[in-house]
């Protein structure tokens, strides 16, 4: 099952799909940064489900299946869904999770009602509307890609213009309001951009999985950087990579739906980022923990040496390894810790094999006491 790299440039369908998936991955990935930073990851889920009745209504009202019309309907419905969530959370004691759940299930239900209603209409050329449920990238045409890229570019442009404000909103909304920014307006703008980034992907990935395209790239990017700008760009790249690779992988095999494949590619990137990303990744955290544990062990042995030295008048008095080991039963390899101490010149080995504290070691032990480093003592 070779990945058709050359076909990416020669095969028209594959090229279109890959281009569309890349554009969509870039936009939803990078804008997802703000959703993840603002702990609104699941808002994307609600928006994408809420878009369904908009698509159906847009078709009912215009009779057109032009991508721009449907996307516009989806955007309006998704936007209304967001407003409902905000209104419910703001006006009652119902929490955000319940509000999101109600909006996503009820709007989706309304969408189903409308879709089945459309199916019953005579002569309606409704075929293809239900591809929004699960997405069907294979049917993507050039005009779809143009809509995705065009709307996506607008969303990115607006984000560029409002960059400072969006950052302010995400990190310190109250401060922004204090210094005079219209934070509610900024919130509306950012939410609208999020809505755009979601609805342009519905046709490709479907309403059920679109939320993953918002959350996953940003969650992965977060592991690699602590800067918003870096996270934004990286999330866009991750989204694009997942989009293209998902489109290519799904074209290699029959009955491998594109949307889920893209999501799985994205999940793989997330998993990789969680494990190996420098500093934050689990592997690095594990190494750091091991390192810290070893350092504590060495400190503890140094302290033991000091305690033993205190019982003898002569500073260079040696103590057998067995004594030191007896003081640290079950706390790892004492002779390795002694080796480390010797390397640093804090302990030395006497000709008879016993261990003694050096002057520098005594000073270091005193410093440890002073800094209040309780450690594993």
């Amino acid at each position: 099952m070779a990945i058709p790299l050359t076909e990416l440039f020669t095969d028209y369908t594959l090229r279109t799909v890959a281009l569309g998936a890349a554009a969509l991955g870039t936009v939803s990935g990078s804008l997802g940064t703000f959703a993840v930073l603002r702990k609104q990851s699941l808002l994307g889920d609600a928006i994408s489900h809420a878009a369904l009745p908009g698509i159906a209504l847009a078709f009912l009202l215009t009779g057109s299946k032009a991508p721009f019309v449907l996307v516009l309907g989806a955007a309006i419905a998704g936007w209304i869904g967001t407003l409902v969530v905000m209104a419910v959370v703001g006006a009652t004691r119902i929490k955000e999770d319940s509000a999101l759940g109600i909006v996503l299930s009820v709007f989706f239900g309304i969408g189903l009602v409308l879709l089945t209603y459309i199916q019953k209409l005579p002569n309606a050329s409704q075929a293809g509307l239900d591809r929004f449920l699960f997405g069907q990238a294979a049917t993507m045409l050039e005009r779809d890609v143009i809509v995705i890229a065009g709307l996506g570019a607008v969303a990115l442009l607006v984000t560029g213009l409002f960059w400072k404000e969006f950052k302010l909103l995400s990190f310190d909304r109250d401060f922004g309001a204090t210094v005079g920014f219209p934070m509610r307006f900024v919130d509306v703008v950012l939410t609208s951009m999020l809505v755009i980034s979601i609805v342009i992907g519905l046709q490709t990935v479907g309403v059920v999985l679109m939320s993953a395209m918002v959350v996953a790239p940003a969650a992965a990017a977060r592991q690699w950087t602590d800067r918003t700008g870096g996270m934004f760009i990286l999330a866009g790249i991750f989204g694009a990579v997942a989009g293209v690779s998902g489109a290519m992988v799904s074209s290699t095999a029959a009955r491998l739906p594109t949307g889920p494949t893209i999501v799985l590619c994205m999940s793989a990137i997330v998993l990789l980022s969680l494990t190996i990303a420098p500093n934050r990744g689990l592997v690095w955290a594990w190494f750091r923990r091991q390192h810290a544990r070893r350092a504590l062990r060495v400190d503890a042995v140094l302290r033991d040496l000091e305690a033993l030295a205190g019982q003898h008048a002569t500073p260079g008095h040696g103590h057998p390894l067995a004594t030191l080991e007896a003081m640290r039963v079950g706390h790892g390899n004492v002779s390795r810790s002694l080796g480390k101490l010797e390397e640093r010149g804090f302990a030395r080995r006497l000709p008879n094999g016993d261990w003694a504290l050096t002057d520098r070691g005594a000073r270091e032990a005193a410093r440890l006491h002073e800094s209040g480093n309780g450690g594993a003592a």
Binding site: K39, L112, V208, G259
Partner: protein
């Protein structure tokens, strides 16, 4: 045999009640979206169960699905435990991945049989009455009714047995832990129950309606009562109401049953949201207005008390002066005076000159001394 439409409504009612019970606690524990996550990721369990059993009616599918639900919960917790992502992102990462694997398995290996992703998500309640439980040639009614009835019984038993524990761990997890109930054990037991309920219900009504039935009625009930037993009862009632009215809506318009039911639970929530006696939007707005006038009338009484017996009392007690001193516009000042008069706090004998009554004086004193 009972008419299918009656049976559909009976099935829908049982499903609604069964979903409402765990739904109440999901809403209260702020985990409403776990129902969304679980109801999607159980698709993977169904797909895996099908791969092993190669039969869509095997009970293995149900078991595997319920297990996937619990796995979803565990994965979210593990991801949370790394502190690398926030909880909302953890949910948003886990279930799309599991769902995607499920979709891929189904479309690759089960495309030819009746294991339809649409059916899983959207449900086919209309056909439920035709799948009957027949033992020894005896028709015992729709199979799904027995399945859901059993799950309902399980839910009721769980709530009755662990009522105290789950109530405490919902409202005060720290106290529950301190008293020796493990919140984690309750959590997993409860989430298993949610999984089993979701699995049973989605077979009948599809996963989206499961979410609607689990969240919308309890959220509506949350606006209507402050007592847990009432909330459970109201959720069940509103769920049934949504199911019935949804059924008739779908009947009238000839559209998706599950979609109509979800729509109606939303309509019921919308009505509660606007009109709930204490916590509805209208009631809250009216209370705000009333409080505004109340506050202003009290202010007026305090103002008059302050200047009573002082040299400027004549000047300060003129209605027109209130505009200057309290910054009230004329219409508002008129309204406040009218209200205070009606309450018997002030009298206005020689038009324009207000006097406090004894009652008004004591109101002002009480307020300022409190």
């Amino acid at each position: 045999m009972i008419a299918p439409e009656v049976e559909i409504q009976v099935i829908a009612s049982v499903v609604a009640v069964t979903c409402a019970i765990p739904g109440v606690f999901l809403v209260l524990r702020r985990m409403a979206l776990m129902s969304d996550a679980i109801s999607h990721s159980i698709l993977l369990g169904i797909a895996l169960g099908f791969l092993v059993a190669e039969d869509t009616s095997s009970p293995l599918l149900i078991l595997a699905a319920a297990a996937t639900g619990v796995v979803t919960v565990a994965l979210v917790e593990v991801l949370n435990g790394t502190h690398l992502v926030k909880e909302d992102a953890a949910i948003g990462l886990v279930f799309p991945a599991l769902f995607s694997i499920g979709v891929i398995i189904i479309s690759r290996y089960a495309g030819d049989v009746h294991l339809d992703i649409d059916a899983v998500l959207l449900g086919e309640l209309v056909f439920a009455p035709f799948d009957r439980l027949i033992i020894d040639g005896m028709d015992l009614g729709p199979r799904i009714l027995w399945v859901m009835g059993t799950i309902l019984l399980l839910n009721v038993i769980f709530i009755v047995l662990f009522y105290k524990e789950i109530k405490l761990s919902t409202f005060d997890a720290a106290l529950a832990g301190a008293l020796g109930f493990s919140p984690a054990v309750i959590h997993y037991l409860f989430m298993s129950l949610v999984s089993v309920t979701a699995v049973g219900a989605f077979d009948a009504v599809g996963s989206i309606l499961v979410v609607a039935l689990m969240i919308a009625p309890p959220a509506s009930a949350y606006l209507l009562t402050d007592r847990l037993p009432w909330m459970i009862a109201l959720s069940a009632g509103l769920g049934v109401l949504g199911a019935w009215s949804g059924y008739w809506l779908s009947y009238a318009l000839d559209v998706s049953v599950a979609g109509s039911m979800a729509t109606m639970t939303g309509v019921i929530f919308g009505i509660t949201f606007l009109l709930a006696p204490q916590r509805g939007v209208v009631a809250t707005a009216r209370r705000r207005v009333r409080q505004k006038w109340e506050f202003a009338a009290t202010m007026l009484a305090i103002h008059l008390l302050n200047h009573e017996d002082s040299p400027d009392a004549d000047e300060e007690s003129r209605v027109a002066h209130l505009q200057k001193h309290l910054r009230w516009d004329p219409a508002f000042a008129e309204g406040v005076v009218r209200r205070a008069e009606r309450r018997g706090w002030v009298i206005n004998p020689s038009n324009e000159r207000l006097r406090l009554t004894d009652r008004g004086r004591s109101v002002a004193r009480e307020t300022t001394s409190a």
